[in-house]
C-alpha cells in the first residue's frame, strides 16, 4: 500500500507542477481558452480570424490577454476535458470553435459562469447555445444562393447529390434546408447519410451510379476531410462538385456560394473583445449569423469539366486557388 501511496503522490505532485506552470503564466493577464474541435482549414481560419478580430479591437496578445489554444482532435471526450481544464484554470473567456467544442465549453463554464463565445456553429438554437452567458457566430450556409449558383452554371441539371454525416447536427439541419428549397429551383436532392469517413467513397459511387447531375458539399467535417478522393471519382465520371466555402474550392470544387470563415472568426473576435473589455456581457449580445456570402470559383476545375460561367456570375465571383 505504501508503494501505491508513493506512486499516487508522485502523480499528484506531477499534476501540481503542471498546474503551477499553467498558473504562473497567467499572472494577471486574462486568459482566453480556445477549444477547437479539430484542425482543418476552415476551423483554423476561424481561429486566426478570431485573433485578428481581437487585434482589430485594439487588444494586444501578451499584454491585454493571453491565449491557451487546445484542439480536441475531433474527440468529444477530449473536448470536454479541455473545457473543464479551462474552467478549473479560471480563464476569463472560453471560445468554442465548432458545435461540439462550443457545447463542451458551455457545460464546463456553468461551474463559474465564465462567458463563452462560439463560432462555426450552424444551428445555435438546436445546440441550446442561444441563451445564457454565451454568444457567438453561426456559420449557417446560404443554401438558396448555392442552389441559384448551381442553376446558373448547369441550366439542365435535375438532381443534386449530397453526402452528409448523420451525427453532425450542422449537416442534418442544412440537409433539411436543401430539401425545403430545392424544388423552387427545379432540383431534387439525393442525399446519402454516412456514419464514418470510410463510408464516404462508397456513397460517392452510389450517387454516381444513380446518375446525379452534380454534387454539393456541406460544411460536413467528415465528408470534407476526404474531399480529394471524392473529386478523384467525380472527375473521372465528369460530374462537377460544388463546395460550401472557399477552402473547398481551393481544394478542387468548381464553385461555391459560401461564407468566409476568416471573416466569420473576425466578427466573433470583435464580440469577444466587447466582453473582455467589459463593454457588454455575453448574455446581452445576441448570436450573429453572417449575412454576406461570397461566390468562389475554380476556373481550372470548371474548364476541366467544360462548364461555362454566365457573365453575371463571373462578375462577382472570386477566383480561388492555392497560391
Amino acid at each position: 500500500m505504501k508503494k501505491f501511496t508513493k506512486i499516487l503522490c508522485a502523480a499528484l505532485a506531477l499534476m501540481m507542477i503542471c498546474a503551477f506552470s499553467a498558473c504562473s503564466k497567467e499572472n494577471k493577464i486574462p486568459v482566453i481558452g480556445i477549444n477547437q474541435y479539430g484542425e482543418h482549414p476552415s476551423l483554423d481560419n476561424c481561429r486566426n480570424g478570431f485573433l485578428q478580430g481581437l487585434a482589430d479591437a485594439g487588444l494586444v496578445e501578451g499584454e491585454d490577454f493571453t491565449v491557451d489554444y487546445q484542439n480536441a482532435g475531433f474527440d468529444d471526450d477530449i473536448a470536454g476535458d479541455i473545457a473543464s481544464s479551462f474552467s478549473a484554470n479560471n480563464v476569463a473567456l472560453m471560445c468554442g470553435i465548432a458545435t461540439n467544442s462550443a457545447v463542451s465549453c458551455y457545460a464546463a463554464a456553468e461551474d463559474k459562469d465564465i462567458p463563452v463565445i462560439f463560432t462555426a456553429v450552424s444551428d445555435p438554437v438546436q445546440a441550446k447555445l442561444d441563451s445564457g452567458n454565451i454568444t457567438g457566430t453561426s456559420d449557417k450556409l446560404p443554401v438558396e444562393a448555392q442552389l441559384d449558383l448551381i442553376r446558373s452554371i448547369q441550366p439542365d441539371a435535375k438532381t443534386i447529390g449530397i453526402i452528409y454525416t448523420t451525427s453532425e447536427p450542422n449537416s442534418v439541419s442544412t440537409i433539411a434546408d436543401y430539401q425545403a428549397n430545392a424544388a423552387d429551383y427545379g432540383f431534387t436532392i439525393d442525399a446519402i447519410g454516412v456514419t464514418a469517413q470510410n463510408e464516404v467513397t462508397q456513397a460517392v459511387d452510389t450517387l454516381i451510379n444513380r446518375g446525379v447531375d452534380c454534387f454539393s458539399n456541406l460544411t460536413d467535417n467528415t465528408v470534407v476531410g476526404v474531399l480529394a478522393s471524392i473529386l478523384e471519382k467525380t472527375n473521372d465520371a465528369g460530374i462537377p462538385v460544388y463546395g460550401s466555402e472557399v477552402e473547398q474550392v481551393k481544394g478542387g470544387c468548381v464553385a461555391a456560394a459560401g461564407i468566409d470563415y476568416y471573416a466569420l472568426g473576425r466578427q466573433t473576435g470583435a464580440m469577444a473583445a466587447k466582453v473582455l473589455k467589459g463593454e457588454a456581457s455575453a448574455s446581452e449580445i445576441p448570436y450573429e449569423t453572417i449575412s454576406e456570402y461570397g461566390i468562389y470559383i475554380n476556373s481550372e476545375a470548371l474548364a476541366a469539366l467544360s462548364l461555362e460561367l454566365p457573365a453575371d456570375v463571373a462578375e462577382k465571383a472570386v477566383e480561388s486557388k492555392d497560391a
Partner: protein, 306 residues
C-alpha cells in the same frame, strides 16, 4: 489549482463506472467486449432525451442501467445462443447501437442549463447546496462510484459472483458444477454494460450533451484504466479490482489534464498522454522488479535439494 484537482477527480470517479464494466468483462470474464463503444453513448442518448422531456434526473440513472443491461444482453445472446465469436458479437451490437443512439436522440442533443441534472436537482441541493457546483459534481460522482464499488464487491462474494469469476478463470469447473457457462457469461455482460451505460448517463448530465461519436475509444479507455490500475496493484492482493479500476481511471484523467496543462502544442496532446501512461506502467514494473531483487538479496536462494 485546487479546482483543477477537483475537476480531474470528478472525471476520474465518473469514468470509474465505465472502468468497473470493462473490469468485469476483460479481467473477470476474459471477454473482449466491444459493446462498450455503443452502450456508453446509449446511456447518454437515453439520458439526454429523458432530461429534455422533463424526466427526473435520478430516474435516468435507473433507465440508463436498464438500457445498458439490454445492450449487454443482446451481445450475450448473439455470442452464446448464435455462436458468434466474442469480438464479433460486441462489434455487431456496437455497430447497431450507433444507429439506435442516433434514432433515440434524433441528432446530437444538448441539455439546457435550465434543466436540472443530478448535480443540481433538489435532493442534491438540499444535502450539498452550500457547496459550489464544481464541488457538488465531485461529491455526487464520488458517491456514485463508491456505491457501485461496494455493491460490486458484495456481489463478487456471493455464490453467483464467484461463479462469474470462475467462468473466466476455469470454465470447465463451472460446467462440472452443473452450471450453465453461457448464462453466467450473459449475466456478466449485462452487469458490465449496465455500468457502462450508467457512466454514459452521468457524463451526459455533467457535459449537458449527447454526441453520437462520444463512444468512440471508450473500450480503449476502459482497458487502459483497468490495466493501469491492476498493474500498480499487482503486488497487493488485498486491493480489490474495483479499487484498481477507480485508481486507474483517476490516473488516466490526471495524465490527460497534465498533457493539456503542459502548454505544449495542441496537436501533441495524445502523444503526451501516451508517454505519461508509459511512464506510469514502467514505474509500476520497475518497482516490482527491484522489489524482487531486493527480496532475493535479503533471502539468498537456497539449493533445490533443501
Amino acid at each position: 489549482m485546487l479546482d483543477l484537482i477537483v475537476s480531474t477527480l470528478t472525471q476520474g470517479f465518473i469514468y470509474a463506472l465505465l472502468s468497473y464494466g470493462v473490469y468485469i468483462t476483460y479481467k473477470i470474464l476474459d471477454f473482449p467486449d466491444l459493446t462498450v463503444d455503443g452502450s456508453f453513448p446509449l446511456g447518454a442518448a437515453v439520458t439526454a432525451l429523458l432530461l429534455v422531456n422533463g424526466v427526473n434526473p435520478y430516474l435516468t440513472l435507473l433507465v440508463a442501467l436498464a438500457v445498458g443491461a439490454l445492450a449487454g444482453l443482446v451481445t450475450g445472446l448473439i455470442h452464446v445462443k448464435l455462436g458468434v465469436r466474442d469480438l464479433l458479437a460486441g462489434i455487431i451490437t456496437m455497430t447497431a447501437l450507433f444507429s439506435i443512439n442516433l434514432q433515440i436522440a434524433g441528432s446530437n442533443l444538448s441539455v439546457e442549463r435550465a434543466i436540472d441534472t443530478i448535480f443540481n436537482a433538489p435532493p442534491t441541493m438540499a444535502l450539498f447546496g452550500g457547496c459550489s457546483l464544481i464541488v457538488r459534481k465531485l461529491i455526487v460522482s464520488m458517491i456514485l462510484a463508491l456505491i457501485f464499488k461496494v455493491l460490486l464487491d458484495l456481489y463478487f462474494k456471493t455464490k453467483n459472483g464467484l461463479l462469474l469469476r470462475a467462468v473466466g478463470d476455469n470454465s470447465t469447473l463451472v460446467t462440472s458444477l452443473a452450471k450453465d457457462r453461457g448464462f453466467v457469461k450473459i449475466l456478466g455482460l449485462v452487469i458490465s454494460n449496465a455500468l457502462v451505460a450508467l457512466a454514459g448517463c452521468v457524463v451526459c448530465q455533467e457535459q449537458r450533451a449527447f454526441s453520437s461519436t462520444m463512444g468512440t475509444g471508450q473500450v480503449v479507455f476502459g482497458l487502459a484504466t483497468v490495466i493501469i490500475g491492476t498493474t500498480i496493484f499487482k503486488k497487493f492482493d488485498f486491493v480489490k479490482g474495483t479499487t484498481a479500476a477507480i485508481v486507474g481511471s483517476i490516473l488516466y484523467k490526471i495524465c490527460i489534464q497534465c498533457a493539456i496543462n503542459l502548454g505544449l502544442p495542441a496537436n501533441l496532446l495524445k502523444l503526451i498522454t501516451a508517454v505519461l501512461f508509459l511512464v506510469i506502467l514502467v514505474l509500476g514494473n520497475v518497482k516490482k522488479g527491484s522489489l524482487k531483487k531486493f527480496g532475493e538479496r535479503l533471502a539468498p536462494k537456497t539449493g533445490k535439494g533443501r
